[in-house]
Amino acid sequence: MDPWWRHPLVFWVLGLPPTAWLLGFFLIPLGIVWLFSFAELRGVIGMEVTGTLANYARALDPLYLEIFGKSFLFAGMTTVVSLVAGFPVAMAIVFASPRWRPVLLLLVILPFWTNLLIRTYALIAVLRIRGFVNFSLEWLWERGDWGLALIGLPGVLGDRFEPLELLYNNTAVVIGLVYVHLPFMVLPLYAALERLDRSLIEAALDLGASQWTAFRTVIVPLAFPGIVSGAILVFIPALGSFLTPDLLGGTDSQMIANVIERQFKGANDWPFGAALSFLLMYLTFGALALRAVLSRGRSAMDAG
């Protein structure tokens, strides 16, 4: 006799509610918005689905293409910086003593327990002209200036401290995006590195590899699935970021999600907003499909 959980009825009873939920609250609304992307505005609030492609044509205007390009650039830079910053963090956690590992992992996850809005405002307090980064730099500048004056080199550091402009520009957006998305990079990397058999690293060293060669030829290739998952988990949400460029960015650092938000709210142009949203989604799916094709080609090459 089959165990009770193998019974078809159990499968349907347990499977139906989530399926209905996804259908009713995800797929159907998404389908409605998809239909909106083929609609024309009628009056102030009305619209009619006419099957027009005008919204998509408008989205391909150089003005919007540039913003798409900028979004990809910001998301790409965020992914690269997160990877470079996250890899040592993940390695440090893996190689930490078992007693400290849960604590360090907790520290990585801890920011999730705070609202994104609050974290972003806190970042403003750190980065602004009268913020903590500039306070610290000014303090260092004053000590340096005083020290240089003592040894007879007054004024080498300039007449007065020039605060760094860290906020309301593209750098601020990337800093903010990296800050928000770093845990999404560290956790998959940690999972990949934690599974890695230490004796593989020892074997590479034993066979004469330098630490760097062992890292390059053994650790990175074996952590590759983690690198890919981390990159996807960072790149896709970063691409659709809305709050970070809104609060930290300057006038020319808005991303595509800011434009979409404006269509739905300020401009009240739902069809165009829907077209932009779906264009972003198509591009994301395209990037994922490309990755899948590339990785299949890679494993086919390895097997052959």
Binding site: S199, L200, E202, A203, L207, A209, T213, T217
Partner: protein, 367 residues
């Protein structure tokens, strides 16, 4: 074959973890070209010692000399020794050929020569033609051969093997023992193997170091280790042994007389030692060296005891009889070949039996 010329000289080697000494002031010479085994119970420090020779652990004190040069401070990737790991540590993301060629490739050997030498090494471990396979397409035994080839291709001065057979099933283990010995013979490289399995060490090694609690208790060829253990630990660890406590009555001209309160007469053993009279000592006597009979053995030159069979362990080719010779002392184990079928067993529970062994059997140990 081994000569007296040591390739590795270890002096006062110590590794401490906090207050615990995993390896405690070990002195050891390993000779050029020999098959050397580090044998001991788990946690005795044998793997730590091997990893210090490899350079994977740095000693807390003492020196390791390789061909006369102090390598104690040389990092792992600069030492001309290579290791076969217990888990084999075959790189899962590389083909067999790339695994074997790894050490050559990163040393800057040309692609052509790397390929050539890697294929040679694969042929040496009987894996010719497996170069294109992925490690996950290999059995455990084949992965181990890849690990062996990968280490041997570097032509190390010493090959270190950490429990190389422990992950294989019993049949394959027997076969690999023989193959490792033949391989070592043909390449002529010094092998140092770590094992907790005494039959593995006895069957493969030219010499064995028995370790316990971070210290080397005895270094000797297998037969010497078995027949002339240096102390009770080694006697008890290698094979099975009866340890009977007594006092040295006399020790002179290669004859030791030991009076044991549990035996009817002093035991006479032919052994070249000098023990002071009255020293507490132990007779170490292997079970298969004792004769067991119903009637007293009459030739008058043998050592004698008598008792009652209390337990019998049937092991197929032999049976072990546990004989009580005195109350409140350990039973004496006597093993006897089952020449007849068991239905006609010579002795049974409760039988009064006589035990005898000659002065050439067993040794007297004072520690």
């Amino acid at each position: 074959m081994s000569t007296e010329d040591p390739i590795i000289e270890i002096r006062g080697l110590t590794k401490r973890y906090g207050s615990l000494a995993a390896v405690d002031a070990v002195d050891l010479d390993i000779r050029r070209g020999e098959f050397f085994a580090l044998l001991g119970p788990s946690g005795c420090g044998k793997t730590t010692l091997l990893r210090m020779i490899a350079g994977l652990e740095m000693p807390t004190g003492g020196t390791i000399r390789l061909e006369g040069n102090d390598v104690s401070a040389v990092p792992v990737n600069k030492r001309p020794v290579n290791m076969v790991f217990q888990s084999y540590a075959v790189f899962p993301h590389m083909s067999v050929l790339d695994n074997v060629g790894y050490g050559l490739r990163i040393a800057g050997v040309t692609r052509e020569e790397t390929r050539h030498r890697a294929e040679e090494a694969l042929a040496l471990v009987k894996l010719a033609g497996y170069g294109a396979r992925r490690p996950d397409q290999l059995s455990g035994g084949q992965r181990q051969r890849v690990a062996l080839a990968r280490a041997l291709v570097k032509q190390p001065k010493v090959l270190l093997l950490d429990e190389p057979l422990s992950a294989l099933d019993a049949k394959l283990r027997e076969q690999m023992r023989l193959e490792l010995v033949n391989l070592q013979d043909s390449v002529g490289i010094t092998f140092v193997i770590v094992t907790h399995d005494q039959s593995e060490a006895l069957s493969m090694a030219d010499r064995i170091a028995v370790m316990d609690a971070g210290q080397v208790r005895q270094v000797a060829p297998p037969a010497e280790l078995y027949e002339f253990p240096a102390n009770r630990f080694v006697a008890d660890f290698i094979g099975s042994v009866n340890l009977i406590e007594g006092q040295v009555e006399s020790c002179d001209a290669g004859i030791v007389t030991l009076s044991c309160p549990d035996l009817p007469a002093p035991v006479v053993i032919r052994q070249q030692v000098t023990y002071a009279t009255g020293t507490t000592a132990w007779l170490a006597l292997r079970p298969e060296k004792i004769d067991i009979t119903h009637e007293p053995d009459g030739d008058g030159t043998s050592n004698l005891a008598h008792g009652v069979v209390e337990e019998i362990t049937y092991l197929g080719e032999t049976s072990v009889y546990h004989v009580r010779v005195a109350p409140d002392v350990p039973l004496i184990k006597v093993s006897s070949a089952n020449l007849d079928r068991v239905t006609r067993r010579r002795f049974t529970w409760g039988d009064n039996v006589h035990l005898s062994w000659t002065s050439e059997c067993g040794v007297v140990l004072d520690r």
